[in-house]
């Protein structure tokens, strides 16, 4: 027997979370220590996680979030048994976990993907960059070898990234002002700007309005808008190898 870990919550957090019709969650239970708890699922040792489990992981976190602050575990974290979760995850880390739970209480993360028109963006980047144009002339032609072309593409990607981020800063000034914090994330491709915002739950409707406004003013940009998620992008936490008898060490 082993445990798959989903999240850390306060001890009083309802686990499993209240059922939502039409949404099926894996069988969850809580492993508790003092004022904190880990949300876990029993799995067979050697069980292989699937892509459905990854989707299920996010669904669990989403539903847990409806009842209070949630610190998400990275998907795939597992422990051999309840005692090891108590000793190595909860007991040694409790003060920091409680501090983080307080920090994110009442807040959620929302994300936006801004998909720019690639050709238009590239034209603009090229138009404003003489050096890039001459590099393209040298390294983009039929005689250029693969390495040269990859390097050219890499340079173009860098310039496109700068262009995209500057534009996104401008376009997203409304949502950024509403958010407590915001950060730029690694995008799926260079013509997409992916941003995460930490926003107070009670300001979500304002955020929705702000996004609607951006969409209205810039119908040429495709915006994917998701949330509320646990504060993934604003929580960086590693529990470093805590031996059962020794003090734990922290790093983040």
């Amino acid at each position: 027997m082993a445990l798959q870990l989903y999240a850390i919550v306060r001890r009083e957090h309802p686990v499993p979370p209240p059922a939502i019709p039409g949404m099926e969650l894996p069988p969850l239970r809580a492993v508790e220590w003092d004022k904190v708890a880990a949300v876990v699922r029993d799995v067979d040792e050697g069980e292989q996680l699937t892509e459905e489990d990854a989707v299920g992981h996010l669904d669990v976190l989403n539903q847990l979030m409806m009842s209070g602050p949630v610190l998400p575990m990275r998907f795939g974290m597992a422990a051999p048994d309840d005692d090891s979760v108590r000793e190595e995850v909860l007991r040694s880390a409790e003060p920091e976990l409680l501090r983080r739970l307080d920090e994110f209480d009442g807040f959620a993360e929302v994300r936006m993907d801004l998909r720019f028109d690639e050709d238009a963006a590239l034209r603009e980047v090229l138009a404003t960059d003489e050096e890039l144009r001459s590099l393209a002339a040298r390294s983009g032609g039929a005689s250029a070898d693969m390495d040269e072309r990859i390097r050219l593409g890499e340079t173009v990607t860098e310039h496109l990234t700068q262009w995209r981020q500057a534009h996104a800063d401008d376009l997203l000034s409304g949502p950024t002002e509403l958010a407590e914090r915001s950060t730029s994330l690694e995008p799926p491709e260079p013509s997409v700007e992916r941003r995460a915002f930490l926003v107070a739950m009670d300001r979500l409707p304002d955020m929705d309005d702000a996004v609607a406004e951006v969409r209205e003013e810039h119908p040429e940009i495709d915006i994917e808008y998701i949330g509320p998620l646990p504060a993934y992008s604003f929580l960086e936490l590693t529990l470093t190898s805590a031996q059962p008898e020794s003090e734990s060490q922290w790093g983040w």
Partner: protein, 138 residues
Amino acid sequence: MTMANRAPRPQGLADVLEVVLDKGIVIDAYVRIALVGIELLTIDARVVIASVDTYLRYAEAVNRLDIGSEQKPVGLPGLVGQIEHTGAKQKTKGALEGVKETAQDVMASFREGLTEQRQARERAPVSDRRALRRGEEE
């Protein structure tokens, strides 16, 4: 009401995986046991493929937009098999953090693959390449 414009989670499986695998609390080696069955390295290889493919695509695009070219760049389909092969070999490492370390290896073998496959191929249309990146999204 603008609520309908916000989705509870990303549409594509690849994006869901990025959310749950990229961040979150990490437990170091002692307590963690491997629960790896999902094709983590395949996902990683997919990312690498996407980035080299992207570079080549942009090299071609600026060429097309700026000075024009009749040359067809090397396409990906012939290379995918090689990456997957590498992925399967590395997967025996098993541990979650092994994944990122091997990205460079995958990249290296990808470059080798490129050199071996100089002959130009017909490039896959955009929709196909997106499908490739997003893999088994359906």
